[in-house]
Amino acid sequence: MHKLLTDSPGEKMLLLGNEAIARGAIEAGVAFATTYPGTPSSEISLNLFQISNESDLYFEYSTNEKVALEVAAAAANSGVRTFCMMKHVGMNVAADPLMTLAYVGVKAGLVILTADDPFMFSSQNEQDNRYYGKLSGVPILEPSSVEEAREMTIAAFDLSEQLGEPVILRTTTRINHSSAFVALGTIQPRNTKGDFTKDPFNLVAVPAVSRRLHVRLLENWAKARSIAETSVFNFIEGEGSWGIVCSGVSYNYVSDAIHELGIQNKTRILRLGLTHPTPPGRVKDFLTGCEKVLVVEEGEPFLEETVMAFAQKAELTVPIAGKDETLFSRLYEFDPTMVRQVIATYFGVDDTPSQVPDLSDIPEIPQRPPNLCAGCSHRATYYAVKKAAEGMETIFPTDIGCYTLGFLPPLSMGDFVICMGSSVSTSCGFSKATGKQVIGFIGDSTFFHSGLTGLVNAVYNNHNFTLVILDNGTTAMTGHQPHPGVDMANFNRSGYGRISIEAVVRAIGVEHVSVIKPYKVKKSIEAVKAAIEHKGVSVVISQEMCTLYARSLKKLNVRAFQVTDKCKNHRDCINEIGCPAFFLEGERVQIDPNACVGCAVCAQICPENAITPVKDKKAG
């Protein structure tokens, strides 16, 4: 049985924040769950995907976050408790349905999880998604700990039903990827069978209906604000005239800091957990007893601006500060020492800074950047494209996935990336605006996520570029989740469809389509050359399973390669391919037989044919 289905209330389990959230959803009786994978949210859906195999929970990996939210909206409007999970940038994709779903509302609890990523450990930006609550009028809950993440997930479903609105559960990486002991609660029964009652004058958002629905949303928002006034998730702690307002993980740093500084008796904390709508009464009461106030929140001055506005309205002149050149930054994530130092500065307390050693005499430490894996087929594809485009002035728009790492030397393939699906549409723009040769790259999962619409645009507008679809048979970057092109038998699941990328591309009307096996270097280069020569939109689909995924499926059974004495040390292998299985022994290139997966790409480009299979030595 899946550990998160354990039916023993009170038992303590060491859980990752994401597991605690999944457990909270299970305890809340969630019956329907949708997502598109994205770090730091991925483990929530992974657990629910596994649980769906041994329970009547419906779970799906949707093609993108907009689709996930639309599927979820229908389920929740059929009276089924529904959970929709994504990373922060996924919310941008889902923003369109979110804005109007807030008008239409829900019949059963719908919780939308956004996992924000301050410091961008694995993301392209560090946007603060609390603004989506403000923009849509939907309430936001922000847990401060792993234990609270479980509790708040349950509360979010209840709040959603109380208001008839979706609720945003907003976490950050330090909640998602922290672990703590969590006391299990009772699992409520799942109601999996929904029904839909037709009510077009409340559910079909045409202008005449929406004018009324916006009124309803504002009434709900006011109701949510009064709930926030008494919510147990908004509390005041401690006594004193120094005030600190905080939310999320910042609360932990504040708690630890005031103990370390010994100012518990001088400081009052307003911890907001239901942060939107922010309760004006609660804030006003808090401010009234304060001589000065510091707002401690990662990201944008979301609470700070609200608290200042409330103070103005209540004609309170108490100094309020937060983001400031001398205090907190809007950049990156906070840490305990930094929060302690700012608190000490703001309230004029002595702080003994930790004795960080002088590291000026440490030799330069070589970086350990992430790298495409040994034998990764993307490396082979990039090499083929590079060779095919040699001598041309080329722009390479790329996209979000493992293959983004191809921008690093020695491959250096990747000139522009902003978001999922952008490689296709920006290829349209670059080719039109510059007239240069453009070759865009997109992964298979990303293609289904939002590459399709760009490709339709390209065919319709008769753009001129080559799109290379890097099809490694999985969503590799986030941990090998399935997508519409994947054989679900790999997951021991039946009853799924499977969509051929080639058939889709041809159906859209792309005239020049070729499918390559990137480990066959010569043939691949020829195919790419032909695609580049084609006037108009051409597509090359490069198919080879992700090596890590193939290994986990036990579909990797190959022989390692070695460098023989024929090697004249040209180092084309290292300088052009840069596979991490290579290393230098003295001045000689060697191949680590434990890392090599036997893709044989290096063997094909070696000018001396010096790279050959290891005899009687199986790798992988």
Partner: protein, 197 residues
């Protein structure tokens, strides 16, 4: 309860997260509050995995510069890189078998001299326990047990409020059945190393 802060650094695939989990379970058995945080973004693609384990009553799950009581490094270069987490009061335990980053493997960077590395760490911290954990893991029966060898050395220092017995129980219940014996042996080999007791 006095707060103790531990940083573990490793290269993706060395078993850092399992080691943290075993420590966490042992803490539960000892009745010690524990909070952990991990950064493993792109680690599967050869990057660094870092986890913070905070024992005691603190609420934070991450550890600021200079605040670690103990640093455990599974790879010497990564131990050196994490030295900013240490102070004069920190005990450092490190495996000494290098896993050169790819940049070094292909001659685009220099791996620091291991003797110099030890001298530097010794000069800036309270204590350094450095040894070849890979060798010990192999003699326990599997090169994969490097993480558990290091846990043995860590528990031996007595810095953490975790008993040897509870850690052994956590190994029995939380590591794969087929590896329990190897792991218990690996733990013993680490524990037998000279360390502060």
């Amino acid at each position: 309860m006095q707060t103790k802060r531990l940083i573990i650094v490793a290269v993706g695939g060395q078993g850092n997260l399992l080691a943290s989990k075993v420590l966490g379970e042992a803490a539960l058995l000892c009745g010690v509050p524990v909070r952990m945080s991990e950064i493993h973004g792109m680690a599967q693609r050869g990057g660094v995995v870092e986890s913070s384990v905070v024992f005691g009553d603190a609420k934070s799950t991450i550890i600021s510069d200079g605040e670690a009581d103990v640093l455990v490094g599974f790879e010497p270069l990564e131990t050196l890189r994490a030295l900013n987490k240490c102070s004069r009061e920190t005990t450092v335990i490190t495996n000494m078998t290098p896993l050169p980053p790819f940049t070094v493997a292909i001659g685009r960077g220099t791996y620091p001299d291991l003797n110099q590395l030890q001298t530097l760490i010794q000069a800036k911290t309270k204590q350094l326990i450095a040894f070849d954990a890979v060798e010990l893991a192999k003699s326990a029966g599997s090169v994969l047990a490097v993480n558990i060898v290091l846990l043995g050395a860590l528990i031996k220092t007595g810095i953490l409020p975790i008993t040897k017995e509870n850690l052994q129980t956590a190994i029995r219940t939380k590591t794969k059945k087929a590896f329990v014996d190897v792991n218990l042996k690996a733990f013993d080999l680490g524990f037998q190393l000279p360390g502060q007791a």
